[in-house]
Symmetry: C2
Subunit: 206 residues, 2 copies
């Protein structure tokens, strides 16, 4: 027979199916049963592995953060200048949000995921750490006296806001029939402004 009773790695298959469903129909009309259907299992199979819908989506969000962490690590590799590194992180971040739209949509949706999930937290912390470390290096290199947590928060907020608000910005540009610059360009501008802002807090002004 074609189908084994034991699937092999159903949790992963369900995650993939979930990504497909979100990509095709959007999170608004996401359905556990549709996910099960695509994975070729019964409609209650997902519950067995993830408990409920929140469990599946939390697992997806965790996967998203883990992937983000990898992407961010890869982005700074081989880049020496701290500012370039920061910019590379920003670009990688928004690109990850684009290439993994389904994951990105879920990752910061407090109403859909279980924020207390330990795996989710550690995965998020790892991604956070990459940015955090990058800023430490930058501040040491340029002798900047800014609280790292504040700086990390600003950088992350700006990138996250950019991703969320991009459709709105695009509309604003359309209304004035001005073309919206590619998002990577926006990231570079943001990075430039923010780094400039940090430089206002140098210990010994040049």
């Amino acid at each position: 027979m074609a189908h084994k009773y034991h699937h092999g790695d159903l949790p992963n298959a369900l995650r993939c199916a979930a990504v497909d469903v979100i990509d095709e129909r959007g999170l608004g009309s996401f359905s556990l049963r549709e996910v099960a259907r695509r994975a070729g299992v019964s409609h209650t199979a997902p519950a067995h592995h993830f408990g409920d819908m929140q469990g599946l989506l939390t697992s997806l969000a965790t996967e998203g953060f883990e992937h983000l962490h990898q992407v961010l690590k890869a982005a700074v590799e081989g880049v020496d200048d701290p500012v370039d590194r920061l910019n590379a992180l920003g670009v990688a971040y928004v690109r990850a949000g684009r290439t993994h739209k389904a994951h990105a949509e879920v990752m910061f949706r407090a109403d859909l995921v279980d924020g207390d999930d330990v795996d989710l937290q550690t995965a998020g912390l790892h991604a956070y750490g990459t940015l955090y470390d990058c800023l430490i290096e930058l501040f040491e290199a340029e002798d900047i006296d800014v609280d790292i947590d504040d700086a990390t928060a600003l950088c992350w907020s700006a990138m996250q806001g950019l991703i969320v608000l991009e459709p709105k910005f695009e509309r604003m540009c359309d209304l004035r029939s001005a073309p919206m610059p590619p998002i990577e360009e926006m990231v570079s501008k943001f990075t430039d402004f923010i780094v400039n802002g940090f430089r206002g807090h140098r210990r010994q002004p040049t």
Copy 2:
């Protein structure tokens, strides 16, 4: 009898009920029927005024933007210094997000609202304009040469990101048992960094 057949202003009553439902049960388990129940009308009454769920939520989002516009206008009133004005806008923005949590949750959810809705667009544009105008004044006052749309995008993104990511930041602080500063303080820090960043693009350096 106590109830008139015609409600008087059912659309408004439904919006209020919707806010209550979102506040109490969250957007995840939001239900049109529950809204109707709370408003004391049949389960199909909302459809008559808003078409469908997306219609109701779009109306809520529009209301949110209109309120935000009022709040932002009020925040800058009587504040003369452009930087103080920008800071006041930021504080008002995050406070509006807190005091009107239900609206804020809906306003930027592309999957729940109809982005093509004209009322929603104009309401959003008005709120955007307040920030836009504030930055124009700032740049004129300080002779800064930065594209206003880029600047607006950065300010808005940072504030929006702060609201969305605040729970995450709080968790990061908890994990190191460091207290999270009040969000208004974060806004002021962000504003400071960002304005500093803009100042790096003065036409005639001081």
